[in-house]
């Protein structure tokens, strides 16, 4: 059952009700926003983990990652062994004027060298300055939050499981040795 | 004579004085209003910058260069509304002198009917316009 003007009255009621509710405006520069975990602010680089495998640069859809490197030969550790070579990172830069924040580079990195940082205040007055070099990318690592806690029912991460198994074994061996010693005494 | 005039006004302050006082105040307010606008624009003239550039003197048409002339043909149907208004406004003003007298002693129902007759004729006109579709936007 509706009478003429019911819709008009309803509209008025909606706006009036909204007026009494809390606003959703964020007073941003005064109040920092509370960002959800895994916010895609900027890409940070943990240089120490990077092996210059170039996977990220190759997978990047808009080719905004620039990597330069050179090979370094390590002298052989043992007399008869071969000398080893390894890649040394010279330059790692991301052009954030091109980057579309798809996160593929982070996904493909096999060595956990790239991370999402929630940092978003890196505007520049010149578009060319949006190409950020490795120092800057490394600095953003400090803003990367700890990974969110696992689901309570989740399986233990593999690394931890293996490490714990090893530690358990070691502890068991130590206990056995201690027991033997005690027997001797 | 001026003396006579003022004497007449003084004799009936409620009527004579009130009327001219009211409109003298209106006149004064007109002066005040014009002064306000003048002062505002003088202040504006002192404060504003003047940077010549022919670009900003172009007519604004959503950011692109203006197309064609500054004048364009528009719907003539607006004119009918204006015309209807003139006729009905002439009608409506008669309501005001009528409104002030019709309920006082000595007028009563007869005057009411006279006005209804008057309005009735125009209501017929409005109905005619409606039927003819003048009020429809085709």
């Amino acid at each position: 059952m509706s009478f003429p003007g019911a819709g008009l009255a309803k509209g008025l009621a909606v706006t009036l009700r909204t007026m009494t509710k809390k606003t959703v405006t964020a007073q941003y520069p005064d109040v920092q926003p509370v960002l959800p975990p895994r916010s895609r602010g900027v890409i940070a680089l943990l240089e120490e983990n990077c092996t210059v495998c170039m996977l990220c640069a190759r997978e990047c859809p808009d080719w905004c990652i620039y990597i330069d490197s050179h090979k370094e030969t390590l002298p052989a550790a043992e007399p008869n062994a071969r000398a080893r070579t390894r890649n040394v990172l010279d330059r790692f830069a991301i052009d954030f004027s091109l980057c579309m924040y798809c996160g593929i580079c982070i996904e493909v990195c096999p060595f956990d060298a790239l991370f999402w940082s929630p940092e978003f205040e890196y505007a520049e007055t010149d578009i060319l300055e949006l190409t950020h070099e490795r120092e800057k990318l490394r600095e953003w690592m400090w803003t990367v939050p700890a990974p969110p806690a696992l689901d309570p029912a989740a399986e233990e991460p593999k690394e931890i499981a293996t490490a714990r198994k090893a530690a358990d074994k070691l502890a068991a061996a130590a206990a056995a040795a201690l027991e033997e010693k005690g027997d001797d005494a | 004579m001026e003396g006579q005039h003022t004497a007449a006004v003084a004799a009936d302050p409620a009527a004579g004085g009130g009327y001219f006082d009211a409109y003298a105040a209106m006149g004064l307010l007109a002066v005040v209003g014009v002064l306000f606008v003048t002062v505002a624009f003088t202040a504006n003239r002192l404060l504003r910058p003047v940077v010549h550039s022919p670009e900003k003197l172009l007519a604004y048409e959503c950011g692109v260069d203006p197309v064609g002339e500054d004048w364009a043909h528009t719907q003539i149907r607006y004119y009918v509304y204006a015309f209807l208004y003139v006729i009905f406004a002439v009608d409506a003003i008669y309501l005001f002198p009528w409104a002030t007298v019709f309920a006082t002693a000595g007028y009563g129902a007869g005057t009411l009917i006279e006005m209804f007759l008057f309005i009735g004729f125009l209501a017929v006109g409005l109905l005619y316009a409606w039927k003819k579709g003048v009020l429809e936007w085709t």
Binding site: L8, T25 | D21, A24, N44, L112, L135
Partner: protein, 319 residues
């Protein structure tokens, strides 16, 4: 005639003319924002952006005065004043409180107010034509057609009140107001307020400034102080229409302790109506041009005629 007294009254009217619209404008900023889940201006002046419109005014006063190359200079420059000043005269005649608390009582007050408000349309036509912009012209014509169409129901509804009161003087009308006028004149009140809203080109009747069609109508080419005057005229218009509706239909200063607090009642009623104006703006979408015209001629005018008949019959019956 006490010259000093008259000068003071004129200046007081000017002060009201310049400050109350700012209050209404700021209320609009805030009410509209909160109705849309926002906060509105927050910085100017410190506390909840209360000085936002003052800041706007200062900004407008410093802006460059641009007259388009093809424009008719003098008419272009004159138009904002022509559109604004009629409202100043109307304000002078609006009674605020009992016992002569009015800028200047005019004997034919109601008629005077309606006549003077009708002059504003010339300013808008001048602005539209002189801008040398076809969108402005179209906006000016739309404004004029709308103002003329809605002036008529407004005049008829006002005539109904004049019939009920038997006088055209605005203080006289408020004096003879009784509570039962409220139901008696309810149709007239609706017609008057709606038509007033349309006269101000406030949403949902803002077709003449429909930005999606004709940029900003007659005001497209205006900048700086002249634009500010047009804006001011819109907000003074809200004040005037709200105050007139309060005077004619809501009993003006009538209320508890009206002898001392009459002016407060009047201001409260005016601002309540101004709030409704803002509320309607936030709630409803714009009417199409054909709906706009049809609403005036096919709904408001017949309603106003019905109200006239009702007023006439009841008035003769009770007198």
């Amino acid at each position: 005639m006490n010259l000093l007294d008259t000068v003071l009254r004129c200046l007081a009217t000017l002060v009201v003319f310049l400050t109350f619209p700012l209050v209404i404008g700021q209320t609009e900023h805030k009410v509209m924002a909160h109705m849309q889940g926002r906060l509105g201006p927050m910085y100017a002046g410190g506390f909840h952006g209360w000085a936002q419109l003052v800041a706007d005014g200062v900004k407008f006063a410093q802006k460059e005065d641009i007259v388009p190359a093809g424009a008719d200079r003098r008419i272009f420059q004159l138009a904002p004043a022509v559109s604004l000043l009629p409202y100043l005269f109307v304000l002078l005649a609006i009674p605020v409180g009992p016992n002569g608390f009015v800028g200047q009582a005019v004997d034919a007050g109601l008629f005077f107010v309606l006549a003077v408000m009708g002059v504003g349309v010339i300013g808008k036509l001048m602005a539209g034509w002189a801008s040398a912009n076809k969108f402005s012209l179209l906006g000016g014509l739309r404004t004029a057609a709308q103002l003329m169409s809605y002036e008529l129901p407004m005049v008829l509804a006002a005539a109904s009140v004049a019939m009920a009161a038997g006088t055209l003087s605005l203080p006289g009308i408020v004096d003879s107001w009784q509570w039962y006028w409220l139901p008696w004149q309810i149709i007239g009140a609706f017609v008057f307020f709606t038509a007033g809203l349309a006269e101000l080109q406030r949403p949902p009747f803002d077709m003449p400034v429909a930005d999606s069609e004709i940029i900003f109508g007659a005001y497209t080419e205006y900048t700086g102080l002249r634009f500010a005057l047009f804006l001011l005229s819109e907000y003074v218009g809200i004040l005037v229409v709200s105050a007139l509706t309060a005077v004619l239909f809501l009993g003006g200063w009538h209320g508890p302790m009206s002898d001392q607090l009459g002016w407060l009642w009047m201001i409260l009623k005016t601002f309540a109506l101004a709030f409704v104006v803002i509320w309607l703006r936030v709630t409803y979408p714009r009417l199409r041009e054909d709906q706009l015209m049809r609403f005036a001629w096919a709904v408001l005018i017949p309603l106003a005629l019905v109200q006239l008949a009702l007023t006439g019959i009841i008035k003769v019956a009770i007198s």
